[in-house]
Amino acid sequence: MEHQLLCCEVETIRRAYLDTNLLNDRVLQTMLKAEETCSPSVSYFKCVQKEILPYMRKIVATWMLEVCEEQKCEEEVFPLAMNYLDRFLSFEPLKKSRLQLLGATCMFVASKMKETIPLTAEKLCIYTDNSIRPDELLQMELFLVNKLKWNLAAMTPHDFIEHFLTKMPVAEDTKQIIRKHAQTFVALCATDVKFISNPPSMIAAGSVVAAVQGLHLGNNHTFLSYQCLTHFLSQVIKCDPDCLRACQEQIESLLESSLRQAQQHNISSETKTVEDEADLSCTPTDVRDVNI
């Protein structure tokens, strides 16, 4: 029996258990403080970048998400990679032709931070259609981590979602559904420039509210009612309930416009990217069910 157990573990990916000792208020307070130190500058398109425009961030983000999806990366890898990308661009003007190199490098590092078996440099280069080479990626990696001052363990909205769910008096299976949908919203937010200014805790709270709303879970569960939940979460992250509502509405309208775009360009070649974006988490039907 022991032998069987061993084999089983080797066959599958090992993940750490969620440590309930770390899902407490002290840790949450520290996280709320720490997230400020790893936040990008909101105005880097205006103040730092000369060639890079917001729509290019969208293009590279959509591609990065597609790669993370296809490589079945852990959910956190994509938002973490986007955090690196935004932070790098907050300091360092970059040529447009190197933006994809930066995006690949950010995934490379984020994957190492979060995954048992990280993405390889070679694979990432293939995804750029071999427009970059592994050695360039590795040199860029050194440059990136140096620019980020090796401060790589940035908070992601996912870290906060676990804390929120722990605090919510809701059945475990309901939590699982909320988690899944909220994570989809988080990935969607990471692709959109408008959300750079929101700290991860806000994105996380907004995504949880949007998920609960979209799933109509508030109808027969008092705690999950809109008023109650926004009040609760805004207290947890210590923000104004109106800010949280604004964020959540922004998320909902982003989802709506992404879905609309996906439907409009159904035949055009652009469809692919937009649809994939709505496809986050490979739960397209669920996502649609959320709002429509």
Partner: protein, 198 residues
């Protein structure tokens, strides 16, 4: 048996299910913003690296290229070979085979420069010594080949379904499989636990 593995908080349970191949789909392999100017890029990256090295040299008053201390606020001192943790003496993990094509042999696949680790330094003393980490990288080459071509985690179920159980297979039997392409693909994870023991 299956409950051994994943924490209930793991969000990715569903993703264990069958999905498209792990190999890049052509549609996802694309160049987004046109060609990269190779020489210019390599020049710029080299420049950044030099800047970093100079900054480090200033910060630690140590010449990392020649492994010599410089004058400054830090006083460098040699230590006995056995007195520092084994970690500092252990040879580095050998570079991955697939990356040999890269022209910059000064970086391994993890972006590490195979630099000489300075354990200590003390004036002109004879027993000042450095550990040259460049030595011995040939061990476990097959493992590395496996790693390079290694599968990503969460294998699609169509890969793993024919042989879900290894209960009666001993570790030896598994590792004795010839390193053909297919076995490399199927047993990539063997390499990491074994390598750690070396």
């Amino acid at each position: 048996m299956s409950n051994v593995r994943i924490s209930n908080g793991s969000p990715t349970l569903e993703r264990m299910e069958a999905r498209q191949s792990e190999y890049p789909k052509p549609s996802a392999c694309r160049n987004l913003f046109g060609p990269v100017h190779r020489e210019e890029l390599s020049r710029d990256l080299m420049k950044h690296r030099q800047d970093m090295e100079e900054a480090c040299q200033r910060k630690w008053n140590f010449d990392f290229t020649n492994h010599m201390p410089l004058a400054g606020r830090f006083e460098w001192q040699a230590v006995e070979k056995g007195s520092s943790p084994e970690f500092y003496f252990r040879p580095p993990r050998p570079p991955k085979v697939a990356c040999r094509s890269a022209p910059h042999e000064s970086l391994d696949v993890n972006g590490n420069c195979p630099t000489v680790i300075v354990v200590g330094f003390q004036g002109n003393s004879e027993d000042a010594h450095f550990v040259d980490q460049k030595t011995d990288v040939s061990e476990n080459h097959t493992d590395l080949a496996e790693q390079c071509t290694g599968q990503r985690k969460r294998p699609a179920t169509d890969d793993s379904s024919p042989q879900p159980k290894r209960a009666n297979t001993t570790e030896e039997e598994v590792s004795e499989e010839p390193p053909s392409a297919s076995s490399v693909e199927q047993t990539p994870k063997k390499s990491s636990p074994r390598r750690r023991q070396t």
